[in-house]
Symmetry: C2
């Protein structure tokens, strides 16, 4: 991983990695919805575009948060899964979800996500 | 506050408000360093520019996370302070800081921030 740190602050450095509107949503889809394939991420209600998704998956892999592997022995299609480092973002996602649920009207956790949070 | 939600997901909605590289750093400066004045935010080591800072302070005020008041009775300069809604982001910042400290090399909490986290 190569990166230029703005400061030694762990918050600033974390935001350099995951501080955008899309990265944590891809991680959310893996963590709470069990999504693994490119097409599955495209189906999320926020409507991520193919080029942004491809960019974020590549970055996540470079950051060591996600790893990909062939979908099957004879396929060039890939599965994406969280690494242990990626899974360790659960408390961050949880804190954000708790804050959003409390402070942003009309937010809710989908039924099939309940058990995961 | 007017906003277009990408979905009802509390994570997505929260990221629409605070999911960028700068917003949470301004909140960090208020929450953990007690900064209140425009000039103080400019002094932070990440080197936020005046136009980005002005933009983020305005957005934070519109979101109800920050409120401003005159620096003194006879001044047009402003103090910026977190509202209760803004202060409620503490668990989010804390989770991000904990993750960054553990997973990003060479990050550290400044001495004068220790007690605040």
């Amino acid at each position: 991983m190569s990166q230029s740190h703005r400061s030694p602050c762990p918050i600033a450095c974390s935001l350099d990695l995951i501080g955008d509107r899309w990265t944590l949503l891809v991680i959310r889809d893996m963590m709470f919805f069990g999504k693994q394939r490119f097409e599955e991420f495209l189906e999320s209600p926020e409507g991520i575009s193919t080029n942004i998704l491809a960019n974020r998956l590549k970055s996540l892999e470079e950051m060591g948060l996600v790893e990909k592997q062939p979908y099957s022995n004879h396929s060039r299609r890939m599965n994406y899964q969280l690494t242990e480092r990626g899974k360790s973002l659960r408390p961050v996602l949880k804190a954000i979800a708790v804050w959003g649920l409390k402070h942003i009207p009309e937010t809710k956790i989908p039924d099939d996500e309940q058990s995961g949070v």
